[in-house]
């Protein structure tokens, strides 16, 4: 995120000059102008969202209002309830999030038992009781292709399968109910084992045979090596509609982005466009990808930071991206993914602490769960997770929030007078 930023309105190719001042003067009135409007189409218009550089003191702006001056007491107090009505209003947005299909069945050219569609939102997540999510967010569980150091609390659930990625994937699906499997090809990292693209493709092939759910294939972060690996994997698994995790602006710089994007297009896969908490970069990366691949084959990773280590930046970047997309910014109208497992980077998740903070066996999964739930509210469509308790909880909340409640709302139980141990 830039330290000093401004709102910048950028012309798209071939548009007429849009005067900044004109747009800025329109901005405050845009809500008024949109009142009663059901749909808004912005043509040949793109906008880069930046931050307004403001300094706000925590105590607020206005002085405390003298309450009596706002609502002078009436001469006589009411003796009956003064009835008011309230009609909850449905807000319609001009934009919507694209739908992206992951995995392909035999009929669709792949070998998965079923496909998963993410995206499609027409409102901010869970903002409106009357508008349910088009597709419930999906959950992927992680598998690593080499022994990695995991926090103790995570390791004990998977200790038996850590040497066998295929078995690990099977367990994630059968035992923990993964919708999707993410295979992280850590061994391809030139600074670790530098495994070859061919070896990596073999691992992916093994996983494809072990489970019949859609796959996410993770690289090592090296823009050149990842390009070689993804290209090989894309060809080997042609038609499977894998989600390649991830493509970056570093790849553009290393001149490997086009290769990967073309491989994904030619072999029918989906790209995960990864950027670090910066919407202008996310938009730029997407624009570069549009040159090669249909937008319906792009998912965004705007970066998930652990609770306590900057989750608020992730929360806000997702709220901003979703709102901008719904207001018509098509360059941000892609489904988004969150690596909720990043929560385990926080020491509060994995460290043994003083007894008053509780055992890490509870603290760890709570950390992953709260991380995921917080971003669920900001609009995440797909989660990468690890702890079984977090997965269960998230699935449960997604289910509750995604279904129309029972017709008769359950009355609140009396907590005031409840005897609680």
């Amino acid at each position: 995120m830039a330290e000093v930023s401004t709102i910048v309105y950028k012309k798209t190719k071939g548009t007429d000059h849009v005067d900044n001042i004109d747009v800025l003067s329109l901005a405050p009135r845009i809500l008024e102008l949109l009142q009663g409007v059901q749909q808004l189409e912005l043509e040949n218009f793109s906008m880069e969202i930046g931050d307004l550089d403001l300094f706000i003191p925590s105590r607020g702006l206005g002085h405390t209002l003298n309450s009596s001056s706002l609502h002078p007491p009436l001469p006589s107090k009411p003796t009956e309830i003064l009835h008011e009505s309230f009609q909850s209003r449905v807000t319609r947005y001009p934009g919507h999030i694209r739908e992206v299909m992951l995995g392909a069945t035999k009929a669709e050219g792949g070998s998965r038992a079923h496909t998963i569609i993410i995206g499609g939102s027409t409102t901010p997540a869970y903002a409106d009781a009357l508008i349910l999510p088009v597709h419930p967010p999906a959950i992927s569980l992680d598998v690593f292709d080499m022994k990695v150091s995991l926090p103790k609390v995570l390791r004990e659930n998977v200790a038996d399968v850590m040497e066998d990625p295929a078995e690990w994937a099977r367990m994630n699906v059968k035992k923990f109910g993964a919708d999707i499997i993410t295979i992280h090809l850590m061994s391809t990292d030139p600074l670790f084992k530098d495994a070859s693209p061919r070896q990596a493709a073999k691992t992916v092939e093994d996983i494809l045979q072990a489970v019949d759910v859609p796959l996410i294939v993770g690289g090592c972060g090296d823009p050149k090596k990842d390009a070689a690996v993804f290209t090989e994997v894309a060809a080997m698994a042609a038609g499977e509609r894998l989600l390649l995790n991830s493509v970056t602006l570093d790849m553009a710089e290393a001149k490997t982005l086009g290769t990967v994007a073309k491989a994904a297009r030619d072999h029918g896969h989906v790209l995960l466009a990864f950027t670090g908490l910066e919407l202008n970069n996310a938009k730029e990366l997407n624009r570069r990808l549009y040159e090669y691949i249909p937008p319906e084959q792009i998912v965004m990773d705007l970066t998930t930071v652990a609770l306590g280590y900057g989750l608020e930046y992730s929360f806000t970047i997702h709220e901003r991206a979703r709102y901008a997309a719904l207001m018509g910014d098509t360059e941000l109208a892609h489904p988004v993914i969150s690596a909720a497992t990043n929560a385990w980077a926080a020491r509060e998740a994995w460290m043994a602490m003083a007894p008053e903070y509780g055992p890490r066996e509870l603290r760890g999964p709570v950390w992953e769960t709260v991380n995921a739930l917080t971003l669920l509210l900001a609009g995440i469509d797909l989660f990468m997770m690890m702890h079984p308790a977090s997965v269960l909880t998230l699935r449960d909340v997604i289910h509750r929030l995604g279904s129309k409640g029972s017709t008769a709302p359950s009355p609140a139980r009396d907590w005031v007078g409840a005897r609680i141990s």
């Binding site: 008011e84 806000t316 055992p359 509210l377 907590w415 409840a418």
Partner: protein, 483 residues
């Protein structure tokens, strides 16, 4: 939507729509410079950006500007009113929200967290519990996170028992109090014991609003208005209580955990949206969430109940609750709430990064260790806090990684042998110490080989988490000379 109140007044402007000119028009326009600004227009700009307060303009409060001052107060008032309960330095301020989404401006007045005691507890147990509430703290990047209030529940339903418990708790702590009973007779017994403590009253409902309104007026106490999810009734009650002369109100549409969670989430979202987007004054009050409600279920496993309580609390906090009443005092339930609150209420326009360069801690000498980390604000603050707490004497090089944490910066090649080479050069650290040994973060271990080659320095791989630094330095510093 029908809104009698809104129809009478002009539509309120959002804080983002107010221009310095709007503010300037209402200032004295004398350019007296009492605010230390060069003129009234400069003051207006800072006022609308939140850099200065109305009270920074003393002349505004002269009798001749009374009308303008009042109007300016209305113009700058947040769509969600703020109120306080409790007294003294520990008093809680809740509400005062300007916007629905944090990035539109910033959130003010962090969600206050209250923990309950009930009136069937022995005095001894109640005092012990209150002490635990007071003593629960966590040191997070150099700040002390704490709980904020005590909610006293009338379980007995007996005025004498309740009054006695209120007296015990008030005598034990200076924390703000929330008195919880739907029976006005019980409530009065409690209020009578703490006339000068400005507690929050829970709650006025359809059946008791008249008596509760009288108590709130008589004891000058803010009042929670509760309905079971019926928002029209909630609006009606607020309007009625306003007509009684009460404006310090908190809204509680009822917290339903588990199956009712969507309803609660949508109720809070609807209330806050109506206040911040439609400027519905009747809904422009702080919101209450009660994660404690999970404890009324049939579930018997304590850990399951605590798990539900932490999940519910975090969702309610993200979705606009200004005050939470909770039951569990377990650290693993409370830590995520207190940390998330701290994060959610930071100014989103604050840079993610700190300045690169070299920092000095304690009194380092020529043989003191040199550490290196990235300029991501939270990485830096965490490392800084760990070094300070341990009282280490050392140098810390902060590399410009574009505000990325160590792990991301290594993956993205922002934290690399090359960037470390230039950081060593730019900080002239070679002039500060007489050795050439650099301790890199454990999460950057894979860089050690190439960095050693590129810099000519000996690279030691430090702990993965900076909490391990004291132990690490104790064991590994000074480094043993090669045999």
């Amino acid at each position: 939507m029908t809104d009698g109140t809104a129809q009478k007044t002009q539509r309120k402007k959002s804080i983002r729509e107010i221009s310095p000119i709007d503010v300037y028009k209402l200032l004295p326009k004398t350019n007296c410079q009492e605010c230390n600004e060069s003129n009234c227009m400069a003051f207006a700009t800072k006022l609308v950006n939140g850099e200065l307060m109305m009270s920074d303009c003393p002349p505004l409060y002269k009798a001749e500007y009374q009308a303008a001052c009042h109007e300016l107060g209305l113009l700058l008032a947040p769509p969600v009113r703020a109120l306080t309960f409790g007294t003294g330095a520990l008093k809680c301020t809740i509400g005062g929200k300007y916007v629905l989404q944090r990035h539109e401006f910033t959130y003010h007045n962090p969600t206050m967290v209250a923990i309950d005691v009930d009136d069937l507890m022995s005095d001894e147990d109640a005092r012990a519990r209150v002490h635990r509430i007071e003593q629960f703290t966590y040191n997070y990047i150099g700040r002390t996170l704490t709980l904020n209030a005590v909610a006293i529940r009338s379980v007995s339903g007996d005025p004498v028992t309740f009054g006695k418990m209120v007296k015990v708790v008030a005598g034990t702590t200076g924390l703000p109090l929330i008195l919880c009973s739907l029976d006005p007779v019980v409530m009065e017994a409690g209020l009578t014991e703490i006339k000068d403590r400005h507690p929050l009253i829970y709650a006025a409902i359809e059946k008791n609003w008249k008596s509760m309104a009288n108590l709130a007026l008589a004891f000058n106490a803010p009042l929670v208005v509760h309905t079971d999810g019926d928002l029209a009734l909630l609006r009606s009650l607020v309007k009625t209580l306003n007509a009684c002369g009460l404006t310090d109100l908190v809204l509680d549409p009822g917290t339903l955990a588990e199956d009712g969670l969507p309803e609660t989430l949508h109720a809070l979202t609807t209330l806050r949206t109506a206040a911040c987007r439609d400027f519905d004054e009747l809904f422009g009050h702080p919101l209450l969430g009660v994660p404690l409600a999970v404890w009324t279920s049939e579930e018997i496993s304590m850990d399951v109940l605590k798990w539900r309580e932490t999940i519910t609390a975090s969702i309610l906090m993200s979705r606009y609750a200004d005050l939470l009443i909770m039951h569990s005092l377990d650290g693993w339930v409370l830590l995520p709430q207190l940390i998330w609150r701290f994060n959610l209420y930071t100014d989103p326009r604050k840079p993610v990064s700190v300045e690169a360069g070299i920092r000095t801690f304690g009194h380092p000498g020529k043989n003191s260790p040199v550490l290196i980390t990235t300029n991501y604000a939270l990485t830096f603050f965490t490392v800084e806090s760990d070094i300070k707490v341990a009282g280490l004497d050392c140098y810390l090089i902060v590399v410009d990684t574009g505000g990325l944490s160590v792990e991301s910066a290594v993956a993205g090649r922002y934290f690399s042998a090359e960037s470390i080479v230039s950081a060593i050069k730019e900080t002239a650290v070679e002039d500060l110490v007489s050795h050439k040994t650099l301790i890199i973060p454990g999460l950057a271990a894979r860089l050690s080989g190439e960095t050693e080659e590129a810099t000519g320095w000996k690279i030691l791989v430090g702990p993965k988490d900076s909490s391990g630094l004291p132990q690490y330095l104790k064991e590994r510093w000074p480094p043993r000379p090669p045999a």
